[in-house]
Amino acid sequence: MVRAINVTDPRNHTQLESFSLLALGLLDSGVILIDREKKIVLWNQWMEDVSGISQQHAVGNRIEELFKEKKTGRLLQAIDYALERRLSSLLSSSLNRYVLPLLMNSSSGLETQPVAQSITVKPLIDQQENRLCLVHISNVTDVVKRESMLKQQGKDLKQLAHENAVSEQRVRSIIESTLDGIITFNRQGSIQSYNPAAALLFSLPLPMKNDCFLQSLIVDLNKYSQLPIDGAVKSLGYTRILAGEKWPEAVGINSSGDSFPVEISVTPMNVDEEILFTAVIRDISERQESEKKLTQLARYDFLTGLANRSFLYERLELSIMRVKRDGHLSALVFIDLDRFKNINDTLGHSAGDELLKHFANCLNDAIRDVDLAARLGGDEFAVILENSGDKTHITHAIERICKSLATPLTIEGSQMSVSCSLGISIIDSSISDCDELVKSADVAMYHAKAKGRDNYQFFTSDLRSKTDVKLSLESALQKAINDETLDLNYQPIFDIKEKKLAGIETLMRWNHPELGNVSPATFIPLMEETGLIGQAGEWVLKTACHQLKLWHDQGLVDEDCSIAVNFSARQFKDFETVKMIQKILTESQLPSHLLDIELTESTLMASHRNPQEILEELKNVGLKLSIDDFGTGYSSLSYLKQFPINNLKIDRSFIEDLNEDSNSEAIVKTIIDLAHNLGLTVIAEGIEDVTSLRFLENHDCRMVQGFLLAKPMSKAQFEDCCRRKIWEQETFFLFEE
């Protein structure tokens, strides 16, 4: 029990003094009392504990005598101030840490640690009016520790805050720099924020100013109305995008009211207990544009801008379906330019392209919007006439097209127009197959060409069977050329006077595996039409030259025996033909004057090039040139004079008629006289009876050829005849002495 005592009562002073000393001893801070002479008069227990200096040692000494460190300077100055000027001083631990070298046990008790001090120095006056100085030392070690810990935490927090700020900055700059519009909105569609890209997309103010709803920026194309405000996310479109579905009809509207297609994806997020949604919006106008371009490329012909084959087929399928459903007729028209290749060959490809473009424009002008014009490649075009009415209507439409296509075009100063052949296939409900339809139109077109071009033909089932044979022959012929299963027959040409073999005409033969021997009258025109004649002709020429050379070498025929090869119009026109002949002559080592090229009059005239030029070229190689079937074509006496021709072959029809028709006799006689006058050799072919032979002999026709003398024969038969000297034994006696 401590009794309260009256401190003002001097009687109690002794007791008070002893209490004070007791309290000083228990104090958790340092108390030092210093007299006027700066000598220590009081040094409490705490000071003893932390300084290791006992009270007995401390009392009577000055501070600077106990602690020699420089750090005490500030304390001594403060003591001086207190004693001399009676001013108090404060020595904070921050500015004067460890003024005195004081140590204490750490809280763990295992080690000692310096005591951080906060010191106050105050002037005092005792009862005897003596000036004293009170130094009070507080232990702020824990405070220092706590504060440095707090500081570290503060630093850490700051670092963290900095890092957060950096990462936020990063995220923000991504959001701000992305080209996609990013809009945050709540359940009601009210927009909370948007990035610069979104501002640009929708022409919104930046920074955001007024309340704005997503519903006014994004609408559904099909409805094209604002989505209901109450619960934007619940409305149809938004529910779909939330479910991750594509929303192809989404359309953005900017502040000027312009709309553009957008792609939108929405992600919900939980921000401070509120559900917000982030919409990433991309303007896909450009993408749609380029998709459109791609479609354009995939569906349209580059040169003419018309539909291409695949798009035609696509539309054809639709037409077939529509016809089946509605019962109205439509039509597919195939159009092929007549002799387009000639234009390409003579005027060049760019002129050809111009013509195709012109043609495409005319075609487009002649059809209705619902119809479709397509270019299938090369000079082939097609038109679908939708819902075209009956055959009469279709015919009108076709004639309109033909008329339009006849519009002339000026290319390189010269006006030109091109005719075309059209094949029409009517689309009725019986048609189910696109391919079938296309084939029909093609067949009809082919037929139009066959009928002399510049006309149109409707497809009929009758046409099909005819054409089918043709088609199968064509492919078989191609196969025969590839497999070299064509054959050559050889027919001797005799010199009546010399009674010898003067030449051999080569004749192409085709033994079809199923049909047997196919007439040259069938397959030669087919070859001409399809262009196969080029390959076949080269093969014939090569085989003939090599064969004759071989026979010469074997001594089967005389050294001056020549070989005749028929040339088609195509071969005659071909620039490469002369080169090809030279090559073959070189390879076979056959003297060029032993090769005889037979050309018909029509072949000569069919060329757009000057026939004389070509003939000169051929002649320069050293060949012999014969006019075949003379008398049937456009026999012009003038060309006989101009052209460098060696032989005239009188057409077989005149020879065959020699017995019955006096006209023929006159003609043959005239031809022979004419030839002789022009210095040409006359060859008569198709001699089947002795009377005819006699007539020719009598009229000085020297060269003869025909069944009577020798039929065309295979290589083996020919060689056999030579070896066995069949002609010497059986033929030559027919010739008059």
Partner: protein, 207 residues
């Protein structure tokens, strides 16, 4: 700045004297923080409490931070070193070389500010006691925060008190801090102060 009770000459003399006294404080502070500290008192004025608080509010911001040191003896009152709140943080930052980023000073940082104030105010009190030739007992400094008016009236005995305002420039490399030192005295103390200043000036400059 107008002055109502002290003449221009007296104020000039006072300014000179305070500059000398405060120079010692600058030296001590330079030692303490191992950097060059410059202190100066360009203007001295003496105003009644209400005017002084208006004047002070103009010079500083509305929220101020002050180190207050009471003095007593033959002549008593309160000495205040006043900074705008922001400048006091800036000062601590400068003298401690640490980053004081929080709004409030920590216990130890406050201690440091008090010590700086203590050094400056002690120097000023010494100057005054030297002028007056009397002994003034200085107490341990404490810290105060609030508006100018609050702080001044809390430190004065009554409405009639006068304030001796010493504007002060506190400069540390890279920092320029403006502060004001105010001595708040009652009328009696002021009159005594004025007559003693008169005597000092007379001694200094005989007629």
């Amino acid at each position: 700045m107008s002055s109502e009770v002290l003449s221009e000459v007296q104020l000039d003399v006072l300014s000179e004297l305070f500059n000398i006294g405060i120079g010692q404080a600058a030296a001590s502070l330079s030692d303490m923080i191992a950097d060059n500290v410059d202190l100066s008192v360009p203007i001295v004025s003496c105003l009644p409490l209400d005017k002084a608080s208006i004047e002070l509010a103009k010079m500083t911001s509305s929220d101020i931070s002050a180190v207050k040191q009471s003095f007593s003896g033959e002549f008593s009152g309160n000495a205040l070193l006043i900074f705008p709140q922001r400048d006091s943080l800036e000062l601590v930052k400068a003298i401690l070389g640490t980053d004081v980023s929080l709004e409030h000073l920590s216990e130890l940082e406050e201690d440091a500010l008090l010590e700086v104030g203590n050094v400056i105010l002690n120097a000023c009190i010494c100057t005054i006691s030297d002028i007056l030739g009397c002994e003034i007992i200085g107490e341990i400094p404490t810290r105060q925060q609030g508006s100018c008016k609050q702080i001044l009236s809390m430190s004065s005995e009554n409405e009639e008190s006068y304030v001796l305002l010493l504007s002060m420039l506190f400069s540390i490399p890279n920092h320029d801090i403006k502060g004001t030192i105010s001595f708040i005295m009652n009328m009696g103390a002021l009159q005594q102060f004025i007559s003693l200043v008169d005597q000092y000036v007379d001694k200094l400059m005989p007629q």
